[in-house]
């Protein structure tokens, strides 16, 4: 993406020694017809609610339309950390665990399946791609209901039925949602199953752009499939991998339906993530102040962590 491609207006209006301000103004006037509606929409429905959020995080907020909502400084923030059950910190820990547990698996499965499906001799590529992508196009709520049913406790749940009653891998059926680690594993499996198809599709597209002759040359050198995968495919796909991984991380940070519809944060508030905690705090306990404070802190955290990557993310191409 060279800069020269981005400046058609300079052709139309060659730079003279006008003031920078005037030029900027003209540039804005030129682009405004295209972005004005979008900017207004974003300002009204995205930026304004966000500013409200930040304001509420410093207020003793009441849901009544004309309430006074007195300013309380950082009270809501301290309240979040004074919670005797440390729910915010647990949610924070879980968020990082979710990233650590799902991103590598998700990434590996995506590239692995994509490379296999892309093998020259494989027929019905499109059929495979369609099937792998099915979970993506299905609603979170429905899949959550389905997973709760598949992971039901006792031998009545399909997973326990297979692993315990049929194969005997488990000595007794697992009560998946009743224990911390099994609930987390269930959440992760749910997330991975639901989203791995996205990575597969992206990588499949990316693989179309990998020159075939490189593989042929490797064949002549007698490289095996494994070597070709690690020495040719992975390095060549590096830019797309960056894009995929960033998106996977962002997705793993944003767990909400995964937790809210599966465990509601249980057992004992141990599986909460920040968005699900915010939802519960605001819409169950009517504590909008602390809920907003959590949102602001989460936003800041992600911002700080990704700031250095922002430029890359912004410029990264989808395909």
């Amino acid at each position: 993406m060279s800069a020269s491609l981005l400046t058609p207006e300079t052709k139309q209006a060659p730079m003279k020694s006008k003031s920078k301000f005037k030029l900027g103004l003209r540039q804005w006037m030129a682009v405004l017809p295209y972005v004005a509606i979008g900017f207004i929409g974003i300002a009204v429905f995205v930026i304004y609610p966000m500013i409200r959020n930040i304001m509420i995080s410093f207020q003793d907020y009441s849901i009544m339309p004309n309430a006074a909502n007195p300013w309380v400084g950082f009270d809501n923030y301290t309240k979040v950390f004074q919670d005797p059950n440390d729910r915010f910190l647990i949610a924070l820990r879980n968020t990082f665990l979710n990233v650590a547990a799902t991103v590598p698996v998700n990434w590996f499965l995506a590239i692995f399946f994509a490379v296999l499906i892309n093998a020259k001799f494989v027929k019905f590529k499109i059929a495979f791609r369609t099937i792998y992508y099915l979970p993506i196009v299905t609603s979170w709520i429905i899949i959550a209901l389905l997973f709760k049913y598949l992971f039901a406790d006792g031998d009545g749940g399909f997973i326990n039925y297979i692993l315990h009653a049929k194969l005997g891998i488990l000595s007794e059926p697992i009560a998946w949602r009743s224990n911390y680690w099994s609930a987390m594993i269930m959440i992760w499996l749910f997330h991975i199953w639901k989203t791995v198809g996205w990575g597969v599709v992206i990588y499949l597209a990316a693989l179309q752009g990998v020159p075939k002759d490189l593989y042929e040359a490797a064949d002549i050198d007698g490289a095996n499939a494994n070597q070709k995968f690690w020495r040719i495919t992975i390095p060549l796909l590096k830019p797309i991998t960056l894009f995929v991984v960033i998106n996977l991380i962002n997705g793993a940070f944003g767990f909400f339906p995964q937790v809210y519809f599966i465990t509601q944060g249980g057992p004992m508030n141990q599986t909460h993530v920040i968005p699900s905690l915010i939802y519960i705090e605001a819409f169950q306990n009517l504590k909008f102040g602390p809920a907003s404070a959590m949102g602001v802190m989460m936003g800041l955290l992600v911002f700080v962590m990704t700031y250095t990557q922002m430029k890359k993310i912004g410029r990264q191409k989808m395909f």
Partner: protein
């Protein structure tokens, strides 16, 4: 060339969507107009000169209950009050509280809502509800209904709703499993139940039907075993939730669970209580009248006859007697209702004998005392036990902070039952946290 064709196709497809949307938009408009026209027509037909007022009523009645509501209640009310139109909106359960909050915050709440009794103090504390105790006719209404359900509307010196129906849970036993445990009738005491559960344990079945770790699931057991949450007027937890009797009650539940006598569903396992009772893997559980209304409705599909194949009784008595938990819904009016007068007219009417009897047909227990008395002569097969249990049933603490208090309560019980904390320590810690919230 190919690309051009694709582009043309896409443009056509987009154009079609626009046309479709336009048509549909037209339809939407029409139906809205149609609705208005309908209103106008109705009021003309009534020949009433007073302008017709529409009041909106949010509810979460079940399928069967909704039929009665729309086919009997609505016409009866509109006949009695021709200048009021009752607009019924059935809300889904998922995200319901969020809907109420958005409605209140956006000044777009309905006039009335049938709301779970535990929400009333919470929304009253937000000033979202109207204090009805000063409205005309309230005292008569109050005198005509049961005291305990009425009390769930009390907050800060006023009443923020009226009880529209009440319910509780009773012990429901699988008849075959009961016989398998060597009993011919439902256990009268906790000791008898525990003995039966021990017999069944050898057969891989579960006997003690605690249905979940929350106040609704634990309440009947905790109270029957002698535990308590607060003092009589709900102002103190210290000395109640952590009293010796409460610790002992919790300890008993913990011991039962350690012995493997309690349903796995208590800790979120399977089968669910209904599945377990139907299959006979569970001896019993406590549940509301909807168990019977739902199971009777689907009897044909499942082949399970709840009246023949189960036995019901009031909760087995322990140190605290036979206790259950009061559930049910209150009819509340929102503070920003546009038609408070008409809404109040409906609320008063809904609590009179006739509508209460109509709703009772579905198994909803009336709060109107005359209607409840009349129920005994109506042919509703399962309701007797519920009415009897209501005499000793207790409400969950009716305070605005109940949502948070319950979260703490649940956590303490879960920690004790899972063996992460001693019952005494768990309850002491809960008391400390709850006192901090109540302050």
């Amino acid at each position: 060339m190919n690309k051009m064709r694709k582009a043309a196709l896409t443009v056509m497809a987009l154009a079609m969507v626009f046309v479709m949307a336009a048509c549909a938009g037209g339809n939407g408009g029409n139906s809205a107009n149609g609705g208005n026209a309908g209103n106008g027509g109705a009021s003309n037909g009534g020949g009433d000169s007073a302008p017709k007022v529409t009041i909106e009523y949010w509810h979460t009645y079940s399928d069967a209950e909704e039929v009665v509501l729309t086919e009997k209640i609505k016409p009866a009310f509109e006949d009695a009050h021709p200048n009021i139109e009752l607009k019924l909106t059935r809300m889904p359960y998922e995200g319901l509280k969020q809907q109420v909050i958005a409605g209140v915050a956006g000044d777009a709440a309905p006039d009335l809502m049938r709301m779970d009794i535990v929400w009333v103090p919470e929304f009253a504390a937000q000033n979202a509800l109207m204090d009805v105790s000063k409205l005309e006719g309230f005292d008569e209404l109050k005198a005509s209904v049961f005291e305990a359900p009425m009390a769930t509307n009390f907050y800060n010196g006023g009443y923020y709703g009226v009880p529209v129906n009440t319910n509780t849970k009773v012990a429901i036993y699988n008849k075959a499993t009961l016989e398998e445990a060597g009993l011919t009738e439902a256990p009268k005491t906790m000791d008898e139940l525990v003995a039966a559960a021990k017999t069944l344990k050898g057969k891989g079945k579960y006997g003690i039907g605690v249905s979940g770790i929350h106040a609704w699931g634990l309440g009947p057991w905790f109270w029957s075993l002698g535990g308590s949450i607060t003092n009589e007027d709900y102002t103190k937890v210290d000395g109640y939730l952590n009293s010796e009797a409460s610790v002992k009650a919790l300890q008993t539940i913990v011991d039962w669970n350690n012995e493997g006598l309690v349903l796995p569903v208590m800790l979120g396992g399977e089968p669910g209580t209904w599945d377990g009772i139907v299959s006979g893997d569970y001896l019993m559980s406590d549940d509301g009248p909807w168990f019977y209304s739902t199971k009777i409705a689907e009897q044909e599909a499942t082949g399970f006859n709840p009246l023949e194949q189960t036995v019901r009784a009031i909760m087995p008595a322990g140190d605290g007697g036979s206790r259950s938990v009061i559930g049910g819904e209150n009819l509340v009016m929102f503070a920003n209702s546009k038609h408070p007068e008409e809404a109040w007219t409906f609320a008063k009417w809904m609590l009179t004998e006739e509508p209460q009897k109509i709703m009772a047909e579905t198994g909803l227990i009336p709060t109107n005392t005359t209607a409840a008395d009349a129920m005994t002569t109506m042919d509703i097969p399962f309701v007797d036990t519920y009415v009897e249990q209501l005499k000793t049933a207790l409400p969950r603490t009716p305070i605005p902070q109940w949502g948070e208090v319950e979260a703490i309560f649940n956590l303490a019980f879960e920690k004790a039952i899972r063996g992460e904390q001693e019952p005494k320590a768990a309850l002491e810690e809960a008391v400390k946290q709850i006192e901090a919230i109540l302050k």
